[in-house]
Amino acid sequence: MQRIGVFVCHCGTNIAATVDVKAVAEALSHEPGVVISQDYQYMCSESGQDLVKNAIKENNLTGVVICSCSPRMHENTFRKAAASVGLNPYLVEIANIREQCSWIHKDIASATEKAIILGKAAVAKVHLNTPLTAGESPVVKRALVIGGGIAGIQTALDIAEAGFDVDIVEKEPTIGGKMAQIDKTFPTLDCAACILTPKMVEAAQNEHITIHSFSEVTDVKGFVGNFTVTVKKKARFVDETKCTGCGLCTEKCPMKKVPNEFNMGLDNRTAVYIPFAQAVPKVATIDPNYCLMLKNGKCGVCSKVCSAGAIDYKQTDKFIEQKYGAIVVATGFNPIKPDKYDEFAYSYCPDVVTSLELERLMNAAGPNGGTLLRPSDKTHPHTIVFVQCVGSRCDDEKGKPYCSKICCMYTAKHAMLIREKYPDTEVYVFYIDVRTPGKNFDEFYRRAVEQYNVHYIKGMVGKVSPKADGKIDVQASDLLSNEQLHINADMVVLATAIEPDKTARPLATMLTTQMDTNDFFTEAHPKLRPVESATAGIFLSGACQGPKDIPETVAQASAAAAKAIGLLCKNSITCNPCVAHSDELMCNGCSSCEKVCPYGAITYQDKEFRMPDRTTAIRRVASVNPAVCQGCGACTVACPSGAMDLNGFSNSQIMAEVDAICK
């Protein structure tokens, strides 16, 4: 006779506000086999777990049903609790009455009714649960970092430091990411390149780190500890091993009119190029969209001047497959293009620039060699207007609903740097709120106002109109003085919102990880597991998880590395005991199951069986290797005789759930 305990969690008011938890506990107490049914404020808390443990001991329970949040959240917590008092952890079932009930429904009556039904289904299932013992699976001692910005670099360095091999896959020809494009960093105003490039070099020289630049992840298979990843090394038409990075080809290339993406298209590069002087790997790349040789078969100058013989016009994309134990996502961000905001004139006025463009305009390695000049006529701007929150905190489809977090600080930085270098320039910053939570952040912003005399005006710019004389009329409101301003500006800088990189969503799909509606990766827990994804073995580093500045990114990168190292340190991880098994008495040996098994976990053997009348017969029957089986259940449906079943999700268990739900 089963002795089942039911424990209904209030989750504070998360469940209790819409589900009458007492009524649920009451209703479930009448289910067959249920000997105890209780509710509690926080079942996952220490005392909640103690409640469950004590009940198991006192009532000698044979099964436990927890009505609480998603099993993806706390199934393990309660399994461990049960195991600690000697109940097999697989005799615990979770009824998801939070994510799939109380959070979805508003009507208490129907939510309660649904919670009871979900509870009944779990009770019906737990009646049929059997004790299971988990096996183990080995961990491949190698990590993959997707994205070679500061987040990816830091994660890779930390993992390598612990002695594990790590590969960085970067889609651009060089690692470095957005930080490489930045001029100075707030709030210390030290040069970004000065602190980033040594790290890039360190990564390149580390014996544990392999950098796959100009590469993309195209396929991910497997599971925690044992991922198989296919990386496409895009053809760069230059042999990486031969190229010395001398740059002669880039000097001689006749195709010089290619927009330079490193300088945000503010100047041009050649068709064969090295993105910037400190690029890692310092290897040239040929842009097939512009190269005359690749387009028309006529030119070949670079090949002629290359003394290393590194140019290879016939190079093709290469695919490499590698096994990894852990994957860290560090795909980063991009500023949005503000061209949907007609009122800011970005798309038709060259002197309206984004903040990242301003970084390049002010950078010593930028298009103007570090002198701030207007893009239109290369003159010194004397009045500059900064507009904050362009596309951030927007409720419409043009922008993003979130605060991009970094704009207040970099705008203060820009304003300050301009006032420092060009004291004759008037700088106006239009802000809605100035958000400066961070060490030395508010002091920094106040310095811009108090010491550098930057005009901070509370209000928003409503219209930017380029005028015939080359000036720009900026119409804005000053909310504090309650007046509408017209500023005769030379340049307008838009602090545009940042968004996750476009490659993130297809990657999330490959990794089977969650994303929010803004395409930021969702962490396993917003407070307690901020650098892990909900999918085991996948970790999150940097702005792919949400807007972040550099120190935060680096902190998160190291945290993700620590989590990955924690996984890689293990020789094996406990594997899922919910695997398939075949009933030899039923099995026909027809091979249907073997054909659908993605892991090759099923083999056949001839076995002797006792038959009626004291005869024996030899039959071919299937057997499943539990270490290889991952428990998908494809075989169970392919099997016509019903011989194949799945632990933890058996035919009878699922049908019991179906029955309970439909009753």
């Binding site: 979805i104 999700f649 035919n651």
Partner: protein, 146 residues
């Protein structure tokens, strides 16, 4: 067709653990509403869903059955949902051949990131089943609720 306003269909949703169940969780986390008629059964993969389960649900009083899995190509188990797609296509075609209403069954791909799609899918499905009314063509009279 006459729609009974008070009719509350019983909907069984089989959701794969890795994508659609997580997607369902996400729609909860984002507080996206869908009707309480939908009750989710967690399966490791959509390919675990045996046609027997679907018929069983109809037998026991379900008015609609929906299977949700990872998008083709994104199966946690590599290929499970490809098999699902073939099996379920054929099964649904057979049910259709037997004259069972097409809109009582559905297969949708919902990823872990598509909380909104999950809620939309369920809202749409419940609406469609409501239009059809009670399942009569594939019910077991012994299980009929009074």
């Amino acid at each position: 067709m006459q729609v009974n306003e008070n009719f509350e269909p019983v909907i069984v949703a089989f959701c794969c653990n890795w994508c659609s169940y997580a997607g369902a969780d996400l729609s909860g986390t984002n507080r996206l509403n869908y009707p309480a008629n939908v009750k989710i059964i967690r399966v490791p993969c959509s390919c675990r869903v045996n046609p027997i389960f679907i018929l069983r649900a109809f037998q026991r009083g379900a008015d609609g059955v929906i299977i949700c899995g990872c998008h083709p190509g994104d199966c946690h188990y590599t290929s499970g949902n490809y098999f699902t797609r073939r099996r379920i296509t054929l099964l649904y075609s057979m049910l259709d051949f037997l004259g069972i209403e097409r809109n009582r069954t559905r297969l949708e791909w919902v990823s872990a990131a598509e909380g909104a799609k999950f809620a939309d899918t369920m809202n749409k499905f419940v609406e469609d089943v409501k239009k059809l009314g009670k399942n009569r063509r594939l019910e077991d009279l012994r299980c009929r609720k009074q």
